[in-house]
Structures are given as C-alpha cells and as structure tokens.
Subunit: 458 residues, 2 copies
Amino acid sequence: MSREELTKIILPEEKLPKFWYNVQADMPNPLAPGLNPKTLKPLTPSDLEPIFARELIMQEVSTERYIEIPEEVRELYKKYRPSPLYRARSLEKALDTPARIYYKYEGVSPVGSHKLNSALAQVYYNKKQGIKRITTETGAGQWGTALALACKLFGLEAMIYMVKVSYYQKPYRRSIMEVYGGRCVPSPSELTQSGRDVLAKNPDSPGTLAIAISEAVEEALKRDDTNYSLGSVLNHVCLHQTVIGQEVKMQLEMVDEYPDVVIGCCGGGSNFAGIAFPFIPDKLAGKKVRLVAVEPAACPTLTKGVFAYDYGDAAGLVPVTKMYTLGHNFTPSGIHAGGLRYHGESPLVSQLYHDGLLEAVAVKQNPTFEAALLFARHEGIVPAPESAHAVRVAVDEALRAKEEGVSRCIVFNLSGHGYLDLYSYDKYLAGETADIEFSDAELRESLKDLPQVPEEYR
Amino acid sequence: MSREELTKIILPEEKLPKFWYNVQADMPNPLAPGLNPKTLKPLTPSDLEPIFARELIMQEVSTERYIEIPEEVRELYKKYRPSPLYRARSLEKALDTPARIYYKYEGVSPVGSHKLNSALAQVYYNKKQGIKRITTETGAGQWGTALALACKLFGLEAMIYMVKVSYYQKPYRRSIMEVYGGRCVPSPSELTQSGRDVLAKNPDSPGTLAIAISEAVEEALKRDDTNYSLGSVLNHVCLHQTVIGQEVKMQLEMVDEYPDVVIGCCGGGSNFAGIAFPFIPDKLAGKKVRLVAVEPAACPTLTKGVFAYDYGDAAGLVPVTKMYTLGHNFTPSGIHAGGLRYHGESPLVSQLYHDGLLEAVAVKQNPTFEAALLFARHEGIVPAPESAHAVRVAVDEALRAKEEGVSRCIVFNLSGHGYLDLYSYDKYLAGETADIEFSDAELRESLKDLPQVPEEYR
C-alpha cells in the first residue's frame, strides 16, 4: 500500500534491529570523563563494578558504532517489537495541516512504555554475571514497572524503592509491580541506613528520587548478589533505546519518507536519545533533519540549565558528570510528568546539544495537556503525561507548517500511554493544573552547590 | 519466517476484513423470534426504531452471510486492526507443554478491549441517520469507554450511565470516558424518572445494570435526537465482533495452523461470538474444532441456566428473547469480572450452544486470577479480569495436552488488558478474593419470574 493509504507502518519481525547504535562513535566532541563523586578524579571501571554489571560498564565507555543485541534480549523484544509507526491521519485532519505527522508508539510494550527496552538488556547482563537481585528507584513508576517485568522474565528478584508521595498517590503502579512479582516499598524506608537517617530527622518525609537512589545503591553495595539499575541518563541506557530510532528509519523508508523534524520528550534523556541518535550520522553527513528535545517549563534543564560537572543525585553517591543541570539541590515542582522531573540530563544528549546537533524547547503543563486531549480525542490513545510534551510540539510544528503553507514530515516518539496516569488528566479536566515556570532567581539559588572540579576536567 | 520462529503474527492492513460474518446464514436452527416486552408478541422493527438505528435493526434480523463493513468504519478499525495474534512461547515453556498456544490480543485497541469493534459500527449507523447523541449503560466500564471514543470520533455526544458502586470504585474509568469527551454519571441519577423513582425509595441505592439500562433507554425514548446503544448480547453486536475470528483464521493460515480448540470468555457473549462464529461453517463442514465459552462459576448462564424466554433487563423495557438465563431477577455476586455478570446470554450463542455446536465451562475466581498472574509474569500483558477466564481454560487445555502427551493448537481471545483493573489484582494478591459458586437453590429462586410466553413461541 502507498503512503497515502496506510495508517500503521509495521515492520516484519525479522527486521528487528540486531545491533544497538552507539552515538559515541560519531560525536564531533567526545564526552568529558565521568568523575568519582568522592575524589573528583576520573572514574575507573572498578568504581562502578560494585553496583553495575561489567558489560554495562563497558557499554558506558565504548566507542564501537554498533553493539550486538544478545539473542536472548532480541527474543524478548519480539513480544512487542518492532513497535508500530502510526500516521496521525485524524489529528492531521483536525488541525487542517498540510504536514504529515507520524508517531512511533512505544506504549505497545506490555509495561506501557519504552523503558522495557533497557530493562531487558540490563537484567540480561546482570543475570549472565550471576547477579540474583536488582535494586532500583522509581518516581512516576514506569521504570520500576519495566524492571519488575524484566527481572521476572529472567528469573531475578526486583526491589524497587518508590518515592513515598508517589507510592500513595499512584497505588496501581505498586500493584502492577507486584503483579510482575517485584517488591515495591515506599522510600524513605526502614530497610536501609539512608532511609532510617531520613526518617529519624523527619518521620513524615514524603521522599525524593535522591533519597530513593541512596536506598537502592546502599542495598546494592551491601549485598554481593545484588546490583543497582538506572532507567535513564546513563550512556548504556540511551544505547539500548536506539532500537526505536533505527526502526523509525526503516518504517519511514517503507513509505518513502524522510523526517523534517524528529521530536521526543526529555527528562533523563533516554527516550529522546532512542528516537533521535540514529539520525545523527545523517545530520553529520549534511541531511537537514531537526532533532528536538521537549522538556517541561518547570524543569527546563537544556533550555535554562548550565553545561557543567554536577552530581547525579542529592547525596553524591553516583558519578559526577558533565551535563546540562539545574543543580543537584534543585527541588522539582510537583508537575504531573513525574518522569521529566530530573535536575540533570544525559551526558550524551547534553554534549550533542552543546555542539548544536540537537534543539530543545520547554512547554508548560496546561498547553501540554490540551494537546494530549486533542490527540486522545482524534487518535484514540491517551498519552502518558511525559509523552504529551512531544505531542504538544508536534502539534505546534504542524500548525506552523499550516501557517507557512508547506507540507513537512513530522515524527515524534509517543513513548508511553497514560492509562495508569488518569489521575493527572482528572486534575487537568477539573482546571487544577498549574503552569509552573522555573525562574532565573531559582536557578541562581540551585546552582550554588556545583562541585569544585579540578581545572583540567572542566 | 516459519511457525517455529515467529512470536507475533501480523496481518497487513489490506487484509482487514471487508465484511462481517453473519452466523444467522448458517445456523441449523434459526433463532426463536424476539418478543415485545409489553405484549409478548413478536417484535416488529417499529418496536425498536425509537431507540436503535434502522440499519442495526436490519442487521439484527438479517440472514445474509456477509454484511459489508462501511468504508468509514474500516478506516477507523485501521487505528488498531488487524490486531496481532501472539504465540505464547514463554507461557508454553513455563507450562512445559507440547501444546502450541496462540492468543488474539484485542487490548491493542486504544480503549483496551474488543468493545470498540461494535461501538464504531453502532455510532456510524446512528450518525448516518442524523442521530446526535447516544445513551448507554456501563458496568465494568469497558463498553462506556469504547462508546465515548467512538462518539467523539464521529462527532456525536455520549451519555453514559455507570452503575454507582462501580463509578466510585473505579474512578479512572470515569476519567477516561471524560478524556474522550463523554459524559458519565453515576446511576441511579436525578436525571431520569427511573432514577428518581429508585432514589425516592432508597437514596443510598448502589445501582444495578438493570437500573442503568432503564435510565439510558428512558432518555433515548424521550429525545428524538438520541438513540440507545448496547455493548453485547444483541445479534448485531456479535456480528460486528466477527472481524476478530476472521483475522484469526487468516493469521493461523500464515503459519500453517488450524486450531483444535478456540476459547473465549463469555458474559453477554460478544467477544466469544467474535472469535468463535467464523469457525462455525468449518465445523458444520466436518472440521473437528472445539469452540469453548468460559463463564464465571458465580454467574454460570450456559452451564447452569435454562434455555427459555426471559427479559433482558430487570424492568422489562428491552425485548424478551429466548436464551440461556439465570432469571432476570438474579443478582450477580460482586466478582471482579464485572463484564461477565449478566443473567442472560446472547440468543445466537444460546441457540448454537443448545444445538451442540459450542461448549461451555465455568471457572472460579481464584484459579482464574492464578492463571492471569502466570500469564502476566511470562507473557508480560496483564489480562482484564474477564479475559482471564479464557486464559484459565487455555492453560487447563495446555496442561491436559501435556498429560496426554499430544501437541494441540490452542487459540484464545485476550479480549482486553487489565491496566484499569489493577484494583482486582490487589485484592487477589492480598488473598481477599472469594471462590463464589452459584447454587441450585439460588437458581430455583431466580427462575421463578420467567415471563409466561404464549405456547406457540416456546
């Protein structure tokens, strides 16, 4: 069928990528080295081995262009991959735009988001090395859900520290992790020293992602059979997500398309990296594709942050990396897109943005939900509040194309569905969603505590 | 790729069926006529016209074998159809069975279940006839969700009466209907005479499906621009669902399979009819395929009910039909599979069951959730509590194949996902799910009020 007839562009199972694409092979400027949070000296693999699987540490620093996807991981990818690329015909009609809008739908994963792409890979490498348990933290709950299922599929235990306020606000996120056999506890907990320390000072602490990270890392450090796992930010996580963009390229070719603009929401950066990085070689070769990261105006890391060395967590337990950051002491507002409330940014996305290969735009909550509702009412799928940020900018691009009277090919990553986030839609429909913006005064305050990194690494 | 390699069997978009299959063309014994609930005389089309679209009334009585799917409906089907047929490889391995298990996944529909297949068709015909609003009732919420989206896609208003106890137990079902622009009110309401009558007697009434039907029908009767819509039971609803089974047949052919057994859960009967009816002609031609309807032990309409004329609702507003029934005054237990709590059964499924072309089996709640959990932990997808009934019997069939040492092809309909039903899983994991069975004493009681139908129609 031709471009003008198809609604879904489906790749046959044998076209599932056999390799992840590693953008580190093609970057004009390499990453600045990660630093040990205690010594502020360059990290060595042995700094990371107590908590991460060796193969993941190697992927973290590899500059090989293609890294083979293990057969065991590919077999499990086939439960939901290749994921469909949709033509948003009803949305185009509603907007009366000459633009052709496509969206890659990662919500077909059984956990409802792209997060499983990395969870399966991470658990596989840990299992191969004899690890029996994995700890992690989760905020919005999507990563914890993916890790719980991946652990169950490979026969490992999953221990998930969920930020206490989210744990009680979103009880069904805990339920689904338990359906998958994972253990999910509210953080701060009595199970770790870090948790007990916080509770001693403040028994009513609602928790933060930073505290949950400390608890998960502490447990991984304490037990030989246990490693720690992270769902975004790190190089190997971005690497695993590149199956998304590689599939998109093949799917667009099937209908003779090449995108003018590729859009993804951006918190830690992994789903954006997943759809955007495979287009970097084309861009370096002179193609005019724009790659746009969308962040919330309440947490505008790329658009308002600084490119500097900073801690990845509040307690200073994880590596210090050079990235766009709002400062590790930045307390994000309680916006509904919990997955985008991170003070920092993937070092890979940061460097490529700094080098002008990526663009970024920040959007407010109400216009974001407005676009999500428009999308749901025409395309049917209810977007996750995070993914709704990409929808907003795709709609804006389509409206601009209409204004300018040009037909453009717009592609965005619908990284997950919102069927477990209907609480946020309720609030929006009730008019209770605020348009929070991050101020320059807040930024000055939150940047005060950047680490004093030796001159030679700056 | 061969049968032994594929995980998902995907039909190209151009293979989407162009016709619905009407089993009324092939039934060894035709349906007994529907009767007017007031006069107990055979229904005429004009009895139904105040609440149903004319083309749907014609489909209700048609004996044409194939009825063309309107192009506008097919275009919208393409948002999620053809739906995938999965090979349950991980589940097979977990059960160590020689059986080959396939499941048709209707949860890819944006509303998460098969219900959209009929909602789109029903709203289309109503729109064609100039209707502006549609009323309906919903119990578990899946039908209300599908109708809300279908109305939005065709530009009609949706008014959904949701059983009050479910409305408050499952607030996110209401949310999603509102995301799709539908109006959802708890029933009994102050908006109709039927609702006000109930509230006058019992201000704290938790509502029942029967009351909600009365409210929706009353409103449709009162307003010329408004029709009523039903999500199961009726012939035209079963007809619309036959896209499921037609696709399954093509998908199995692609991997050189023919099923030994086809399984679906069965409440009003539409999803079971959808997967099973397209196999009826084969069966009549001598093929040995078994077609198995699965119902809850708490509401065992086919396995314990009687084949007799009965009212479709408690108030006697909708047609009296000959069907398997537990009696219209039967009060179903509060089991978690809300979509299977109906006293009656599709007249088509009933007649074919009576004629020996279909089988039926009843299963209890705890073994059903046990199978659902096993499925989620190996296949990833969390089944809707209704669909979990089909999972249970598929697992039982696979275990029997193992016992007997034979390889069989088992196919079941995973009619929807359970991401909006995690409350039920919570209860099961907490050990709070009861194995309710329907007793013979209850049956004798609930069959007391069957209508006294004239001899000639019995």
